[in-house]
């Protein structure tokens, strides 16, 4: 996990191999224009637009996970809870109080962040696999509770949101608008990630990931940094959950809190793309979501579970042979092609 460049100079000029926030801003702008163009080209094809919308959404969600999971090294499998909080809160506010989902994004993000901080405060005592198991158990508690408290969640039957098209309702008749919406979410997540990665706070997070004791010895308030990272990550995840609820217009416990489909998938996409890198989650989502959707649509009817067989095999192969994900492999290839000597620390 030492794929992150080590900062050479904290002053205005960046060290070789380190990009400034301004450079990332340009990159994100170019990337989002390319993705927008992609959505534009397929603007008449609802099947592909649906896949693109999911790809953008999960790229954004995985980027959000990456803030605490990748930069901070806290392998959370409980992000489905924050996702569900955003979705249920938005659905309830819309159903019962006719509050526009756009406005509901604010309390959705806030509640997810508060719950994340409250739950993480004790669980951050645990490290590595123990933290992962505890967050996974947390997801399962949420699953049971979501089934139980029917007044808030509709229980196992779920909540359906009536179709009333309109910008204020965040409900659109064409899928292109949804793809745009998800793209906007992705860009927001990338911008926040870039800002975090190139800030003092981001370096604190990475220091905590590399060696918690050393970070503490260097004067970093470890718990505070981890809590802040988790809250930020959860807030973005809550917003993603809200958008997901408005896209599907249906929420129930299995769709929101399934471990393989939601909670773990954020982590898996990031890991496949390159955990702890800015564009890794996007790369992972661009690979995984379309492949999975395609397999589910093409083969799911004939042989159930094919998409997950492929996903499982991909996971094992990436863990064994591409530990640094698509971005890591791409960077290594680029370095070999340009035969430039690797700069900075790195060297894993």
């Amino acid at each position: 996990m030492s794929s992150i460049e080590i900062p050479m100079a904290m002053s205005g000029r960046a060290a070789p191999g380190i990009t400034t926030f301004r450079v990332e801003l340009v990159r994100i702008l170019v990337l989002s224009l390319i993705l927008l163009g992609l959505a534009w080209v397929y603007g008449k094809n609802p099947f592909i637009l649906n896949i693109l919308a999911y790809t953008f959404l999960f790229a954004g969600l995985s980027s959000a996970w990456n803030i605490i999971g990748g930069f901070g090294g806290q392998f959370s499998l409980g992000h489905g809870v924050f996702f569900a909080i955003g979705a249920y809160l938005t659905a309830n506010l819309y159903l019962h109080f006719q509050i526009s989902p756009w406005l509901a994004l604010v309390p959705a993000a806030a509640l997810a962040a508060v719950v994340a901080a409250a739950v993480s405060w004790p669980t951050f005592r645990l490290k590595g696999p123990f933290f992962a198991i505890a967050t996974m158990a947390f997801n399962e508690v949420a699953f049971v509770l979501a089934n139980y408290f029917e007044t808030l969640t509709g229980g196992p039957r779920g909540l359906s949101l009536p179709f009333k098209a309109g910008l204020a309702n965040m409900i659109f008749t064409n899928r292109f608008s949804y793809a745009l919406l998800m793209l906007g979410f992705l860009v927001a997540c990338l911008l926040v990630s870039a800002a975090v990665l190139r800030s003092r706070f981001g370096y604190y997070l990475q220091a905590v990931r590399e060696d918690e004791d050393a970070a503490r010895a260097a004067g970093i308030r470890v718990l505070q940094v981890k809590l802040l990272g988790m809250a930020l990550s959860a807030a973005l995840t809550g917003i993603g959950g809200a958008l997901f609820a408005m896209y599907l217009r249906f929420v129930d416990p299995p769709t929101l809190l399934s471990l393989p489909d939601i909670g773990v998938k954020f982590a898996l996409i990031a890991l496949i793309g390159g955990v702890g890198t800015l564009y890794g989650p996007l790369a992972g989502a661009l690979l995984i979501v379309p492949v999975e959707s395609y397999l589910r649509a093409e083969l799911g009817g004939m042989v159930p579970g094919t998409n997950l067989i492929v996903l499982g095999a991909v996971l094992i192969l990436f863990a064994l042979f591409m530990k640094r994900g698509l971005i890591g492999a791409g960077t290594a290839l680029w370095q070999r092609l340009t035969s430039a000597r690797p700069e900075g620390g790195g060297g894993g």
Binding site: V264, G305, L311, A319
Partner: protein
């Protein structure tokens, strides 16, 4: 009073099942320090192995133990050798790989069986023992006896045999064990093989109790994690007793609180124990952090 006793019996029998699944997980967890998310799927494979033996030659599930357990031992050795061994000291990648294994095994079985639920008949499955109004299902009682036998056998094996001593030495300090001439990699393969074999044993014994589905491993794995954490990392008796504690909590919460909430209750207990005493009730305090220290 008799209701209460009945609940206790239900809880203990359930605890036997949880303990049976947990001992193998805890062995792997404690010795190799790998969180094997696919352990529930190994149990599932054991169940389908029992069904396959029945379907092929009409074998009774209790006889198929002789086939399924060695098969899973070999499978476990192969997983350790080819998937987990290359990932030593990378706990994140191990989580990742065992989760991939979970998805792979679950859905391969789903693709093969098309999700049909199977049960394996045995002459014993309908037998219910009635002791003063307490109804005890024989197949569950067999699971209870089996977990006791396994716990006794395992602790004897770890204490008195050379491979058992090697496993304990590797658990305590990998580097020192290596310096003493113990083949650490071989010990790990043996351990994972045994863990998988125990999962297979659990699967065959549970085959007459549950209707099989490819996802059934998920019912056990979280309970097994709770048991392992509760009982203590790497402790055989911890897993044994932890199984009963979780079983009893589930039965009591299911009756006195609400059946829908029983899982939430033991998850909360589990999280509480993780936070208050991460080493577990019978574990060594601080053991949970050793797994992250780089060992060579």
């Amino acid at each position: 009073m008799s209701t209460f006793l009945n609940i206790l019996v239900v809880g203990l029998l359930l605890g036997g099942i949880y303990g049976l699944v947990s001992i193998g997980l805890n062995l792997i967890f404690g010795v190799i320090r790998i969180v094997n998310f696919a352990q529930g799927e190994l149990v599932m494979l054991g169940m389908y192995g029992a069904y396959f033996s029945y379907w092929l030659v009409g074998m009774d599930p209790y006889v198929s133990i002789l086939v399924v357990v060695p098969a899973l031992f070999v499978f476990g050795v192969l997983i350790q050798r080819f998937i987990l061994q290359p990932l030593q000291n990378e706990s994140m990648m191990q989580i990742f790989a065992t989760f991939g294994l979970l998805l792979l095994l679950q859905n391969v079985i789903l693709a093969i069986t098309r999700g049909t639920g199977y049960t394996v008949p045995t002459d014993l499955s309908t037998v219910v023992i009635d002791i003063a109004g307490l109804k005890i299902s024989l197949v569950r009682l067999i699971a209870l006896f089996a977990v006791t036998a396994v716990a006794v056998g395992m602790s004897w094996f770890l204490k008195n045999t050379l491979p058992g001593k090697a496993i304990r030495a590797v658990t305590q300090d990998r580097r020192a064990a290596r310096l003493m001439g113990i083949n650490v990699e071989l010990t790990f393969m043996l351990t994972f093989g045994m863990g998988a074999a125990l999962a297979g044993l659990a699967g065959t014994l549970l085959a007459p109790i549950y209707t099989m589905s490819p996802q059934i491993g998920g019912n056990f794995i979280l309970a097994a994690f709770a048991v392992v954490v509760l009982g203590g990392l790497g402790s055989v008796w911890g897993a044994f007793i932890g199984g009963f504690i979780i079983g009893l909590i589930e039965a009591l919460a299911g009756y006195y609180l609400d059946p829908a909430l029983k899982h939430a209750v033991w998850f909360l207990v589990f999280i509480a124990v993780l936070i208050v005493r991460p080493g577990g009730l019978f574990g060594i305090a601080g053991a949970e952090e050793v797994g992250l220290r780089e060992q060579h």
